[in-house]
């Protein structure tokens, strides 16, 4: 399969995502924000970073890029769309995912590994993971406090759209393990069909033992087509671009 990684001005995890995909045996190509097509990619990844400097509001300007219309069509047709960190913020701004991401309750940027629990193993990002599985993944954000309330939050929970929740090392979900004040400890959500997913942690930073862990592999591998071989390919060494 082929995955595309969108490069907005200010994206800074685009190269990391391209590397992580290729190292996981997935063909990956960059998609330029000024393009109006996803170039036939089966999965589209919106990487982390500071698209348009996070000016105005995180993701608020990037959602107006020409590529976003194409991504909207791709999502509607059932194609896989993944937003990581700033990409998640862009997807909420674009209305492709519910909710919004507010400033962390501690009012500071936080970069450290956290634990998350797989709440929904049917989404495009988690279909090769087990429900209840606990992963260690790094976060790196200042605006990662997922927020939604009232009936919309209830609906999100009832429809199984909460994909990942922050938790303690043993999988317990309690407020002390919430790094940023997200409502219901939510770290990642999907749309109703599960083909559009956004999360604040960075799975692409957790696929190489040299970088502190490989818990992100099951997420990256889930992007492969469901009927592709379920075996996890060995990490390939690829030269950087």
């Amino acid at each position: 399969m082929r995955a595309g990684v969108v490069v907005f001005p200010g994206s800074n995890c685009d190269q990391d995502c391209l590397w992580a995909l290729e190292a996981s045996g997935i063909e990956a190509v960059p998609l330029w924000h000024k393009d109006d097509s996803v170039q036939g990619c089966e999965a589209v990844i919106l990487p982390g970073g500071f698209s348009y400097g996070d000016y105005l509001r995180c993701g608020a300007i990037a959602r107006l890029s020409p590529i976003m219309a194409a991504i909207g069509r791709h999502a509607k047709a059932g194609g896989v769309v993944l937003g990581i960190c700033n990409g998640f913020q862009i997807l909420t701004e674009a209305g492709l995912l519910p909710g919004t991401l507010l400033r962390n309750t501690g009012l500071r940027f936080i970069c450290r590994p956290v634990f998350v629990r797989i709440e929904q193993a049917a989404s495009a990002l988690t279909r090769r993971c087990q429900p209840g599985q606990v992963l260690s993944l790094p976060i790196a954000h200042a605006e990662g406090r997922y927020w939604l309330d009232g009936p919309a939050l209830r609906q999100l929970e009832e429809q199984g759209q909460v994909v990942l929740r922050y938790c303690a090392a043993d999988g317990r979900v309690d407020e002390s393990a919430n790094p940023n004040g997200s409502v219901n400890q939510i770290a990642g959500v999907s749309n109703r069909d599960g083909n559009v997913v956004g999360l604040m942690p960075h799975p692409e930073r957790a696929i190489d033992p040299w970088l502190g862990g490989t818990d992100g592999r099951c997420l990256i591998n889930s992007l492969r087509h469901p009927d592709a071989s379920a075996a996890t390919p060995a990490l390939r060494s690829v030269a950087s671009t």
Partner: protein, 784 residues
């Protein structure tokens, strides 16, 4: 018409009706920071009086910041060449060959003055400036580090400064997407009114893509790239060359405002231009803006430049030529481009939404000629601004305080009864406490290359996802330099090399930032010269060239200079990732070995400062030959695969080294951590606090499996390095005894010498004190 007169003036060599009178204009010192003698020198060089703009140009180009006029004669002592040096000092950054076609560009720079006036923007633009220095060389920045020196955090003004500086570094570095992988924080009273913010950046490039900042080729176009020019930061370089006085907070307009988003676009555009081989030269507009950048480019190429200032993209209307020349607006670059390459260059800039303007051309005149609406406004020989700038051999004088400070009445400082409590006090102090509160605010993982994250002796960053990595460390102990500037300078270099050795790397080169008081004070000049000499000697002994650096003088407020504060950035190379060693204990049962000398010397130690409130004493002896041997022996044992962990003995002494090695083992999956049982036999006449907390140099603590000790000991012996097994890894406590050495029977009952542990503490308790020490001081309850 003023311009008409000026034209005649240029033609005639001197203005009509005016003699070659060298009487200085009023306010020379206050407005231009020039002396009468310097003014006379200008008149002699030009053979006429400079006009207002020209005088402003001299003011910045001859400022300490741009001309290095007081430091130059001393900096010549540094070794700057080596087999791996592709570019030494004099360019935007030094470049070191790391093999397989790769090279590292790196440099450290200060942004002290701006950070004091406006901490967020001051620190942020410091990051921006050093990033540009790296990518102008054709290198992609891969790591940032910062050395922060602040006043005591009990004072809310200092907390505000530290908070702002950390936020500024985070705000800029995180946005551009370059990981901040380490640094240091030092607390010292002197920095309350003069904090230091030094930022190091390293970038990676292919050796065949090395770019230089020379304006070669008369007829080539001078291309302006990036942000528009505004009125911000005018005379920033001059400001950085004067000391602070009360009320200087009003200098806020002199501080620039950063736009990291523009920087990121500029970075990508520049690297693409260099990759495609479209540029002749590239230079960032840093201190003294367009003036300094263009003059330096022409100076390096031995050419001239003709610039049309009205073509410079402006942010505000009605800016004068003088303001355009001296603006320090951020995120601007100057490129030299062959005319036939211009369309391709402009297309790439358009792709990245980077504005460009052709503002002039390279000439063969050797002159720097400025035009404003076709009329000449300044015409100066390039060499008058650079090579002919004054160079001073400033008077030096040994300060009277040295003798007083070196005396240490230890008998007045009894050994505390509870040394466990002392350890707790020490690990909670911000200089020794965990810096997680700081580095968790930095994205230290972006780039998926940070193999050893902040918190170790050195950070390790992988190169191109290959089996190759570089180690980086920043070091410097200003208290040592106050007590003995020669040894303090030498120790900064030695410790940097030791730190990169501890992660398994071979040190290759250093960059330095020399932060001192006013060079016009003979005592400060003495400190400067001695520090540089110590650093140079240590560099030669350890085989480390100095490839780049920065001098920051006039770090004084109300006549009070800072301690002499050289900061050394060290670059090390790892040819294989499996050679990486970390400071943290690895396995139950491993032996703990101390390489290097033992003793109880307390002079200049962190312990004396924190516990006895004394910053004095003779520094322990330094043996550079032994230093090299200890490092080589460690590296040899690591290369043989014998070593499980390695940690430098530095501030806080052996006890802190042991504590850190144990504390780093605490993780959510191992909340109890991995401790050690340590026994350090010492002759009875030694002080227990000295054995635990004294800061002898040239010491590395290693751990290894018991069955490896025989092989390792042969290596240590072959390098003639003293070594001793001092304990064993295990348990969840840190327990240290200091029994009397068998050769000298102990004094029964004297503090800690009766066989009972002098330090015995549960790691979880120690961890809480250490980990939350800094956020507690900063009043941040959200830190985890």
């Amino acid at each position: 018409m003023a311009f008409e007169r000026f034209k005649q003036w240029l033609g005639a060599g001197r203005p009509p009706g005016q003699s070659n009178d060298a009487t200085a204009p009023p306010g020379l010192r206050e407005r231009y920071n020039l002396t009468e003698e310097e003014y006379r020198r200008i008149v002699t060089l030009l053979n006429r009086r400079p006009n207002e703009i020209e005088l402003n140009i001299f003011s910045v180009m001859w400022s300490e910041h741009c001309s290095y006029k007081s430091s130059k004669v001393h900096l010549k002592k540094f070794p700057t060449v080596g087999d791996r040096v592709l570019q030494g000092p004099g360019e935007n950054a030094g470049v070191v060959d790391i093999g397989d076609g790769w090279a590292i560009a790196f440099k450290i720079e200060s942004h002290n003055h701006p950070s004091f006036i406006e901490p967020y923007q001051g620190a942020a633009t410091g990051v921006g400036g050093i990033l540009r220095d790296i990518f102008t060389m054709g290198a992609r920045p891969i790591a940032l580090m910062d050395s922060l020196r602040m006043g005591p955090l009990e004072d809310p003004a200092n907390r505000r400064l530290l908070d702002g500086v950390v936020r500024g570094i985070a705000g800029y570095g995180n946005c551009v997407g370059v990981p901040t992988v380490g640094g240091e924080l030092v607390i010292q009273e002197m920095h309350s009114r003069n904090p230091l913010v030094n930022v190091l950046c390293a970038g990676v490039l292919r050796t065949d893509r090395l770019m230089r900042a020379a304006a070669a080729g008369p007829g080539n176009a001078v291309l302006y790239m990036g942000s528009k020019t505004g009125r911000d930061g005018i005379h920033g370089a001059t400001m950085a060359s004067a000391q602070f006085e009360s009320g200087d907070e009003d200098k806020r307009p002199n501080v620039q405002v950063g736009d990291p988003f523009m920087e990121k676009k500029l970075l990508e555009a520049c690297l693409e231009l260099i990759e495609q081989g479209l540029l002749v030269g590239l230079q960032d507009m840093g201190a003294a803006g367009l003036t300094s950048s263009s003059v330096e480019m022409a100076s390096r190429a031995g050419t001239g430049l003709r610039l049309e200032l009205d073509r410079v993209p402006l942010r505000e209307a009605h800016m004068t030529p003088h303001e355009i020349c001296l603006s320090e607006s951020q995120e601007r670059m100057l490129a030299v481009v062959a005319p036939d390459r211009l369309p391709a260059v402009e297309a790439i800039c358009r792709k990245w939404d980077v504005e460009t303007a052709v503002i002039g051309e390279v000439t063969a005149t050797g002159r720097w000629e400025l035009f404003w609406r076709q009329a000449p406004v300044a015409s100066l020989p390039i060499c008058a601004l650079t090579d002919d700038a004054p160079v001073y051999e400033r008077p030096m004088k040994t300060p009277a305080y040295v003798q007083l400070l070196q005396s240490l009445p230890l008998e007045m400082m009894p050994v505390p009864g509870d040394l466990t409590k002392v350890l707790l006090t020490m690990v909670s102090s911000p200089s020794l406490a965990s810096k997680a509160w700081i580095y968790q605010q930095y994205d230290h993982m972006v780039g998926t290359a940070t193999v050893v994250p902040p918190g170790a002796d050195a950070a390790v960053v992988r190169i191109g996802h290959a089996d190759k990595a570089v180690a980086l460390s920043v070091d410097g102990n200003a208290r040592y330099c106050l007590l003995n500037p020669y040894l303090g300078g030498a120790i900064a270099v030695m410790e940097g090399a030791r730190n990169v050795t501890c992660v398994g790397a071979t040190p290759l080169a250093v960059t330095d930032c020399l932060n001192f008081g006013s060079p016009e004070q003979p005592e400060t000049m003495w400190q400067f010269a001695a520090c540089v000499e110590g650093m140079a000697d240590a560099c030669r002994q350890l085989g480390l060239p100095v490839v780049s650096g920065n001098v920051s003088l006039y770090n004084e407020t109300n006549g009070q200079p800072i301690y002499p504060s050289p900061v050394v950035g060290t670059l090390g190379l790892l040819d294989h990732l499996d050679r990486i060693v970390t400071p943290w204990f690895q396995s139950e049962g491993d032996l703990v070995v101390l390489l290097g000398p033992q003793g109880d010397a307390l002079g200049g130690s962190e312990y004396l400062r924190l516990i006895h409130h004394q910053e004095r004493g003779l520094l322990p002896d330094v043996d550079m030959v032994q230093e090299l041997a200890v490092q080589q022996a460690s590296r040899a044992a690591m290369a043989a695969g014998l070593i499980r962990s390695a940690h430098d003995c530095a501030e806080g002494g052996l006890a802190i080294t042991l504590a850190e090695a144990a504390l780093g083992t605490i993780t959510p999956l191992r909340p109890g951590g991995l401790g050690a049982v340590i026994s350090i036999p010492a002759p009875a006449h030694l002080r227990v606090d000295g054995v635990l907390f004294g800061e002898l140099q040239s010491r590395i603590m290693l751990t290894l499996q018991e069955d490896k000790i025989e092989t390792a000991s042969k290596i240590f012996t072959s390098y003639s390095v003293p070594w001793a097994v001092i304990g064993r890894v295990g348990g969840d406590r840190l327990t240290i005894t200091v029994p009397s050495a068998p050769s000298s029977p102990g004094l029964a009952g004297s503090s800690g010498r009766d066989g009972r542990p002098v330090i015995d503490i549960d790691l979880t308790a120690l961890h809480n004190t250490w980990h939350f020490g800094l956020p507690q001081l900063m009043g941040d309850t959200s830190c985890r």
